[in-house]
């Protein structure tokens, strides 16, 4: 057997056409293609042979750094069949060149990625979020009210008596959530309420006007307290960071991560928001039934919010502002799932 290739001695960039001759007693000999002169010879086990990688050329390195390159992958595979040190890489090549196994690998990868995005990462984020001290959650959201005040909120136009009466309505219930939320009133973004990570709950004037009575306002308050209770913003931050790191780690470069991360931002946002909304609804409905408040109040106010926006499940704030930040923080109006949830509590 003769294997055609190129030889380079590793001292200069000069290359010569050469032929590799596997001889007896597991010896490998490289001879010049022109003169037939022996250039280098060694026992096969002293020659470092690169593993197969697609159809890329093979590198056979001799003791003094001399290298024989060849494109003849078939012949080299034959040569190293008995060598154990190359065994694992040849398994890799077998998998890579088998169409069925590659398809299985692709499906398995997609399934694992899907399962981690929808189950694994949210689960981990929840476990970690509740292990971290409250101060971490507060530091995540430090200053967010100031930022919102500068960017989107207007001061509330409600008079001081109205505010005082709203505060005395809500105060008895605030201690139901361990972070003891602070209540603020603003306007300028349509009917909405926000739970900020530092434990502030913001009501807009428009939402207050929309509510027919105090119990509807309490329903909203409990929903927002549900967001705080379940540490949704901290969990969201954790989830986003883990996904970013995961994509970089798995694909191995920052560049592709940038393209891929556009997609979770689009699709996962919707899914994660919905899961969080359902948790917050649950908290609200549980609190209402234990405080003896009519559950239909929750349904009424959510329906009113829904009919105002009426552009779909997830667009509560989209209808009034395009702020990404608000999307993260806003409550979402009623959905068919929400109605189903209420009937569960009735």
């Amino acid at each position: 057997m003769e294997i055609v290739g190129v030889f380079s001695n590793g001292k200069t960039s000069h290359t010569v056409k050469a032929i590799l001759k596997p001889g007896g007693a597991d010896r490998l000999t490289v001879v010049s293609a022109e003169s037939g002169e022996v250039i280098v010879a060694a026992a096969q086990f002293d020659v470092n042979i690169s593993s197969r990688l697609g159809s890329t050329p093979r590198r056979l390195e001799f003791f003094d750094g001399e290298v024989f390159f060849t494109d003849d992958n078939g012949a080299i595979d034959e040569l190293v069949r008995s060598r154990e040190d190359i065994g694992f890489s040849s398994i890799l090549h077998t998998i890579e060149s088998h169409v069925g196994l590659v398809v299985v690998a692709a499906i398995l990868t997609l399934l694992i990625v899907w399962a981690s995005l929808t189950r694994g990462i949210p689960y981990l984020a929840r476990e970690v979020a509740f292990q971290l001290p409250q101060s971490v959650q507060e530091s995540v959201g430090a200053g967010s009210l100031d930022i919102l005040d500068q960017l989107v909120f207007e001061p509330s136009a409600l008079n001081t008596e109205k505010i005082a009466s709203l505060r005395s309505l809500m105060n008895p219930f605030l201690s139901l959530e361990s972070s003891n939320p602070r209540i603020e009133f603003r306007s300028g973004v349509g009917p909405n309420a926000f739970a900020l990570p530092d434990g502030t709950v913001v009501f807009t004037d428009e939402l207050i006007e929309l509510a027919d009575d105090g119990e509807e306002i309490l329903a909203i308050l409990f929903h927002e307290m549900g967001h705080l209770h379940h540490r949704h913003i901290l969990r969201r931050t954790l989830q986003d960071s883990v996904i970013t790191l995961g994509v970089i780690f798995v694909t191995g470069d920052v560049e592709s991560a940038n393209i891929l991360l556009g997609m979770p931002a689009l699709f996962l946002d919707l899914r994660y928001s919905r899961d969080f909304e359902i948790e917050a609804d649950r908290f609200a409905l549980e609190t209402m039934s234990s405080e003896g408040i009519d559950l239909s109040k929750f349904e009424r106010i959510m329906n009113k919010l829904d009919s105002l926006t009426a552009t779909g499940e997830f667009s509560s704030s989209g209808a009034t502002t395009n702020s990404k930040l608000l999307d993260y923080l806003s409550t979402h109006p009623s959905t068919s799932e929400r109605i189903a949830l209420i009937s569960e509590f009735k």
Binding site: G54, T56, F249, T251
Partner: protein
Amino acid sequence: MVVHKVDFRGDGSEYFRIWIVNVLLTIVTLGIYSAWATVRNNRYFYSNFYLGDSHFEYLADPITILKGRMVAIVVLVIYAVVSVLYPLAGLIFTLALIILFPYLIVRSLVFGRRMTSFRNIQFRFKGTYGGALMAFIIWPILGVLSLGLLFPLSLVKRNAFVIKNSAYGTTAFEFTATYKDYFLIILASFGLVLLAIIGSVMLSFVLPPIMAGFVIVLGIYATGFYAASRTHNLMFNTTFLNEHGFNSTVTAGGLFQVALINTLFIILTLGLYLPAAKVRSTKYVCSRLEFEAAGSLDDFVAAEKENASAIGEELGDALDLDIGLGI
């Protein structure tokens, strides 16, 4: 003068097979396999990169990379924990990382060059801490402080540091780009953005505002591709190895076409097109690159063997020090 074609002989479907097996093994080994995956990915790209009839090689040992990666992760975890629990200590840590940053860049370049070989001669890098400090921290700061006037010069200094300190065997690369070269590209980019803004203002009289806004976005994108193509060509066309030089003719339209197709397919295939996309863009850039040899390429001499550790490179990677340069 002999013109050698630069040729990327990789194949999208072949690389996909290698890539998907890498991704799966990386996931099931919780990331440990990523060191082997990196080596296999890099080997595939380097080995398919041909200058004339000879190919490049990537020689790194996965174990070296794994060690570097573990050091990087330990450092980052300590950093994250410390900065949450003791904000002041975190600040000191950040400062230490800034001081360490030029060192990491140098180590990363030393490792990357050492592990690259052509015709069995390795590349090398001999930049110093002081050089990296100037090129990557001091000059960019001066660029900002001078309100952008020195920004073109900071680009010259950065590329000069990376390229002039690189060598093929014992032969160092030369870099001849000037302040003016970069200044003109930046000036033209500003002009394009300005043109897009003026055009969109004029269009806003006849078109709905959303369309006019779209023109600005389009203009900024086009400028991005323009600047990327020109700086890419400039870097290659002002780089020399002895009397040998490059001729790169990448165009903004070409880059845009590649990016558009890639992004579209990546989204449609839920990311599975990623490896083929990398092959496509590499193929395009190589198809627009020639090596103009002034004579024989046989006489480059190897340097003494040195050991290079991967710690710098991996810590750099983990901290996202993407210096985005490579020959």
